[in-house]
Symmetry: C2
Subunit: 292 residues, 2 copies
Amino acid sequence: MNNIQSCLLLIDGGGSGARARLCTIDGEVLVTGNGGPANLSTDFAAASANLHALAQSVYQQAGRPTSCWSQDYAYVALAGAGASTKRQNLINSFGFKKMQLATDVDVTLAAALGTEQDGLVAMLGTGSFFVWRNQGRVRRVGGWGFILGDECGGAWLGREVLRATIRAYDDVGPRSELTAQMLDRFEGTPKAMVPFARDAHAADFAKLAPLLVAAYEKQDEVAVEIFDRAVDMLCESIGAAADVPGQHLCFLGGLGPTYQKLMPAAYQAICHTAKGTALDGAYWLAQKEFAL
Amino acid sequence: MNNIQSCLLLIDGGGSGARARLCTIDGEVLVTGNGGPANLSTDFAAASANLHALAQSVYQQAGRPTSCWSQDYAYVALAGAGASTKRQNLINSFGFKKMQLATDVDVTLAAALGTEQDGLVAMLGTGSFFVWRNQGRVRRVGGWGFILGDECGGAWLGREVLRATIRAYDDVGPRSELTAQMLDRFEGTPKAMVPFARDAHAADFAKLAPLLVAAYEKQDEVAVEIFDRAVDMLCESIGAAADVPGQHLCFLGGLGPTYQKLMPAAYQAICHTAKGTALDGAYWLAQKEFAL
């Protein structure tokens, strides 16, 4: 691979890990790889070390020396990249011919819609956020973490199930198979939920979401109430289906397909699958950015 | 005081401190004092040390040697006392003639209603809980902490204000003077709220509640929406005013008076002030318990 004049390194990184693709300028995939967490705002030193290790690893697999970085391009999309004050430090530490740092929101949008299509992306994973593109203008809502926001995401759903379980236990909310199941997980009383809730991270609450989805499929009363409320909140966040730019709505994330099926028909009618993966999105953005 | 045959020590303790009263069997107050936190479930060793220090201090102030404990009575109401497995250890460590360990819920009920009156106590402080007494039967709702419950308490209100501020910032909820004021506290963006929310304890969120109360008094749109929702939840937790035992409703805690004024007229019509303080409640319970 030493004889290829210029290559393009694509990275999509976040709090739980990073994915990389080394490809030719034309997009031919040479090598892919996975690395450690890379959230620039949370821990710059760790993110930088993980990104260097990942880049070196894919170059080594491709048999291309890292001395080629000075003639190669890199497009790196990272959670927390927008807020970081050390963007330039990271870019300088690599020494690529050209390197662009983008955010996870940028690549999510590109992956879902490509680089031109107007539309709205609803990302529903552990957290949640919404991004609109309308004639080149981009607007984001949400993504502030599940304590104060991230409504309808997995962590939010998990916490709502525990709340409903406590209200059922206290006899001020309905009991169901789901609330009984949750109580069983916590030794039959809310007492053990209190320290769990105090120490739990978003991912811990989100682990309860699949139980809720399964209960919804059985039309469990409590699960239906929570999802009805979640869908109302989604519609409020998204706005009217008629106002979605380009009539192009794309649900992403682990809970994306679940919510898509639950939305009112007017929204379902304008749903489209994503144009590609996050690394595809990074490639399309890199093509534009570097005029490849 | 050495010549009084038997005295009665009353203590009301919780996570933020403890209050004590040494009195005669007839209730004549000899000495009062304050001590450190005493939540049996959270930290037994610290609670035990603080309670011993407090008891010794009031006995010393009263000029009564602690050797009199063997002929004295103690009624000690502590947060977390219900769940603790070390109740008997604590009782044995003092060596009173008779000592009763009760919970903060027991004394709250006695303070609000006395020991006989049927009624409902709504405790609205940093957290929230509700206790009914109906012909001797006691039922509790809430008090599970603000992450999963404690609806309408100060911590819950503080978090709701931040949520509403983020929704206003994202332009999916109404803006108001209150949301502008909260944004100002956090450098104009929700970014600084995210680490605050991650690290905040209930008391930190509760510190925001007075701003919300002040905004409500000016009929701030967002404050009104949050309190309307809170009052709806309160009515749901309390049940219909017609069903309140003895038609006797008592609002306690720092937010008690605020909520009492906001409740629908049917509830306000059956509101009564508390019969006494927590230490009064402890005295009435001690009289019954020890048949004094």
